[in-house]
Amino acid sequence: MFGNGLIKGLRITLKRFYGPNLTEYYPEVKPNLPPRTRSSMALEPEKCISCGLCVNICPNQVINLTSEKDGNNKRVLKTYHMNIGRCLLCGLCTQSCPTGALRLSQEFENAVYHREELLWDMIARSKRSNKPSGEEG
């Protein structure tokens, strides 16, 4: 009969109208992201051996690092910059990192007002506390 579908639809919406709501109240209640979420990068400079693998694997030339040799002819990280505005957050760099110095973190509120602020100085950022990512990153 014509109208059956209409009444069924009305019944569904009425059921949902009285049902619970699924909204996440975001700024008040922060979402609990799974440990593998790729939402920003974190670096532990003491672990970094400046091998440059991350620079090479990055598909978008996001990472830019310089190093200098210390007394023992060992390379020491000097600067480590990421142009996060170009970053795809694909995670290839963290997978290639042999020492686990570069990690993905779950800090997801990355919006900034100016484009220049997207040029992250990872060493400076590491001084601030970053929530570290899960075991594999």
């Binding site: 209409l6 639809g9 009305l10 569904i12 919406t13 009425l14 949902r16 109208f17 049902g19 619970p20 709501n21 699924l22 909204t23 109240y25």
Partner: protein, 351 residues
């Protein structure tokens, strides 16, 4: 209860009493201005509040919480909306027909406000107790087509013009079943006066005598107020916003005001024609019953809106001319037959 029932009537009588001659020109003028302001306030507050309720409803239906920032559970959001709309820039594009562009939203609001004049919110609580109440309502609301067309044509936008054309086609078509569906009630009561029609429903609301007419009225009323599933005029998905595409800020706000004002007016007419107006169980004052019944009709309209999808424009026309119109004519015929039989039998039974 009686005092509560007549509180507004008594206030009006008191204000009249302040004048030496309670029916002088100045007394009438004062009362009329007060009533006008009251109606305007009712319309503005109802429209603003409805725009919030609509969003809340839409979100509840889809299991979300809706606006939830301002006030308890976001129930003060409409104030923020009003302030935002007042503060926005009034943009008008190049090459619009400036006069028509500017006057169209004002005209629409004015027409809606005019329609509010005959709505009896309670016993004796009607701004103008016209003999022709319901006919006046229909006559006035028929002009709103013109305002929508003005907006659509003056905007100098192709989407707007399409919207304006759709407004003409749709609203003129649906006016006919709307009018005819009300005719049954008028035949029974033999009057156009809304207050008398409500008085006649003291024993039984006309929805029980005229269920088909109520259904037709509700459908045609939804179509007249341009709400889904009949919101061809501002079909977002095809013609962006129809006649409102180029409007911004307060002018757009006026359109929304008129839309929700129309919703309230249409529901109020439905309540007074079919649902027994201010009559209800005695524990609440009459005007509260009236308002609660309006909310019931608005709830149905919103429920339909957030469940159904939009009809196609040619199906819409078919629906009006091939289904609703014959049905409403049949309803008139049946009503006439019923009245005849009633008059034939009642004297013999001894009623």
């Amino acid at each position: 209860m009686d005092a509560l029932n007549n509180v507004f009537v008594n206030i009006a009588a008191y204000i009249r009493g302040l004048f030496a001659d309670s029916h002088s020109l100045s007394a009438d003028l004062t009362i009329n201005i007060i009533v006008f302001l009251m109606l305007f306030l009712i319309m503005v507050v109802a429209a603003l509040f409805l725009s919030l309720v609509e969003r809340k409803f839409a979100h509840w239906v889809s299991q979300r919480s809706g606006p939830n920032r301002l006030g308890p559970h976001g129930w003060f959001q409409f104030i923020a909306d009003a302030v935002k709309m007042l503060g926005k820039e009034d943009i008008y594009p190049a090459n619009v027909d400036l006069f028509l562009f500017k006057i169209a939203p004002m005209m629409l609001v004015g027409i809606t406000l005019m329609a509010f004049g005959v709505i009896p919110f309670g016993k004796g609580m009607v701004a103008i107790n016209l003999d022709l109440g319901i006919f006046y309502f229909l006559a006035v609301s028929s002009i709103s087509t013109l305002a929508l067309l003005m907006a659509g044509w003056a905007s100098n936008n192709k989407f707007s013009l399409l919207g304006g054309f759709r407004a003409v086609a749709q609203m003129i078509s649906y006016e006919i079943p709307l009018l005819f569906s009300l005719l049954g009630v008028i035949m029974i009561t033999q009057t156009f006066n809304l207050s008398s029609i409500i008085e006649a429903q003291k024993t039984i609301p006309f929805i029980f005598l005229q269920p088909l007419a109520f259904l037709i009225y509700l459908i045609a009323g939804i179509a007249e107020t341009n709400r889904a599933p009949f919101d061809q005029v501002q079909g977002e998905q095809e013609i962006v916003a129809g006649p409102f595409t180029e409007y911004s800020g307060l002018r757009w706000g006026l359109f929304m005001l008129a839309e929700y004002g129309n919703v309230v007016a249409t529901s109020a007419i439905a309540v007074s024609m079919f649902l027994g107006g201010w009559y209800g169980p005695g524990f609440l004052p009459g005007w509260l019953w009236f308002i609660l019944k309006i909310w019931l009709v608005i709830f149905i309209m919103m429920w339909v809106r957030w469940t159904f999808v939009r009809m196609r424009v040619d199906h819409l026309m078919h629906f009006a001319w091939k289904i609703l119109l014959p049905l409403s004519l049949a309803n008139i015929f049946l009503t006439g037959l019923g009245i005849y039989i009633y008059q034939l039998f009642i004297p013999r039974i001894g009623g």
